[in-house]
């Protein structure tokens, strides 16, 4: 490609680079969003699963097999959470990608999604656990006293409220993931950071290239944060997770006050 050389200054250089290589950047953005969004959602489910394992309580009425199983499951949950929160994701990525490649022959992209999911899951488990603990004990008792067992109580009473309470923290994990997927370049995932290094390598202008990269990351996280804030406000309205089912607005304004009847 014979083109006029890039202007030497930062802004001019950056603009020039973006003009020429925009598709490469946006290909990276696509992968970054794909990985961080899917990994946040998968991580949420992993977190829910391990948070419920951590909730297992040993009941005196349990027989010894149930007791042992509960203890083992709880230990596994704790180990998982400690290991994945206690080691850097970049180390996890290299270890798992290369460690498992001979057996499952996965692509860097699949590996990236899996690794970020597992990593996020460990953080989500703690977020969900805190969410569960924020729910008043009375909710659990009321649900159980209506004859709902532990599982029904968790699924229909505790978790919907816990997730709602934990929503800001869950959303924050997504924002963190957008930035942290950058470490996946070590296993060759063509996300935004990886693409940027490629572009910078071509034009040999690291400073100018990474101004573009920074701006794109900032755009992604800022937009996401704003969207999450709107979603959070929606959840905070009295209708909350009940959803916008036919119920709300009409009755909210139209109900008849009927005090002291009965």
């Amino acid at each position: 490609m014979n083109r006029v050389p890039l202007p030497p200054d930062l802004i001019g250089g950056a603009l020039g680079i973006y003009e020429r290589y925009a598709p490469l950047f946006w290909f990276g953005v696509r992968n970054t969003l794909l990985i961080s969004l899917s990994a946040t959602i998968i991580g949420l489910f992993i977190g829910l699963f391990f948070a419920s394992l951590k909730q297992l309580k040993i009941d005196n009425k349990d027989n010894s097999i149930v007791k042992v199983t509960k203890v083992v499951l709880r230990v596994i949950a704790n180990l998982y959470i400690e290991i994945f929160r206690g080691t850097p994701m970049i180390v996890q990525a290299i270890f798992l990608y290369h460690g498992l490649r001979p057996f499952i022959g996965w692509t860097p992209l699949t590996a990236g999604i899996v690794i970020v999911s597992i990593n996020t899951g460990a953080y989500m488990a703690e977020i969900i656990r805190a969410g569960i603990q924020s729910i008043d004990k009375g909710q659990y008792e009321a649900s159980r006293s209506l004859g709902m067992n532990h599982l029904l109580t968790m699924v229909f009473v505790i978790l919907p409220q816990a997730i709602k309470n934990a929503f800001p923290a869950i959303g924050n994990e997504f924002v963190v993931n957008i930035k942290d997927t950058a470490v996946l370049n070590v296993i060759g995932v063509s996300e935004l950071y990886f693409q940027s290094t490629a572009v910078a390598g071509i034009v040999f202008r690291f400073r100018d290239t990474f101004l573009i990269t920074a701006l794109i990351y900032l755009f992604l996280t800022f937009t996401t944060t704003q969207l999450l804030r709107i979603a959070e406000k929606k959840l905070d309205t009295p209708e909350g997770l009940v959803g916008a089912s036919s119920s709300s607005s009409k009755n909210f304004f139209g109900f008849k006050r009927k005090r002291g009847t009965s």
Binding site: L146, F156, Q161, G240, S246, S248, R259
Partner: protein, 241 residues
Amino acid sequence: MIDILNLSKSFGKQEVLHDISLNVQEGEVVCLIGASGSGKSTLLRCVNLLETPNAGKIIVDGVDITASFNIDDYRTKVGMIFQSFNLFPHLNVLKNCTLAQIKVLKRSQKEAEEIAYENLKKVGLSDFATMNVTKLSGGQKQRVAIARALCMNPKILLLDEPTSALDPELVGEVLDVIKDLAKSGLTMLIVTHEMSFAKDVADKVVFMDQGVVVEAEHPSILFNAPKQERTKAFLARIVHQ
């Protein structure tokens, strides 16, 4: 209907209930009174197995509930009303009433809603079905909680200080609902501080102090001519308040 035999309950080293024996007949309304910390609420929670007794038996309908058996099945037959309502804030009034019906009793949604409306009508709140529970007043919340419990067609209703968390002007509407239920022949065990209410509705008033049943009598006897010194002292304190 309920036979409590030599029941004891400790939290750690603290003995909260000591050798309690009490009998509740079918259709009877029994009020538990006594100072805070006397073990009334713990006794009530034992009947629903929210607390596991350390010793003694609770026999309901001929079945010893302290032995191993299906707790969830039993709990559908025993409704519980809490001081702090414990409505599910993420669900509207109607869904509060239908959730357990659908998930536990396996009723269809339509059937569950019909039953819910029926019971909401009993507590005077059928117009509020689609409202969010957080929008209700305390008295309304407690009435929804009662409707929610009634939806399970309980044989026994346990009420743990149902009006203690309410503003004074809202107490009446809840007590009225409970009085109606008492007349309908539902077996009820009520922990309360409302003495005049206890006098009104109870077939038997049980005075508890420091984890034991001091006296259990018809209200006309217990309030007018208590035999035990501790009962007299307690009632004197209440009257002077």
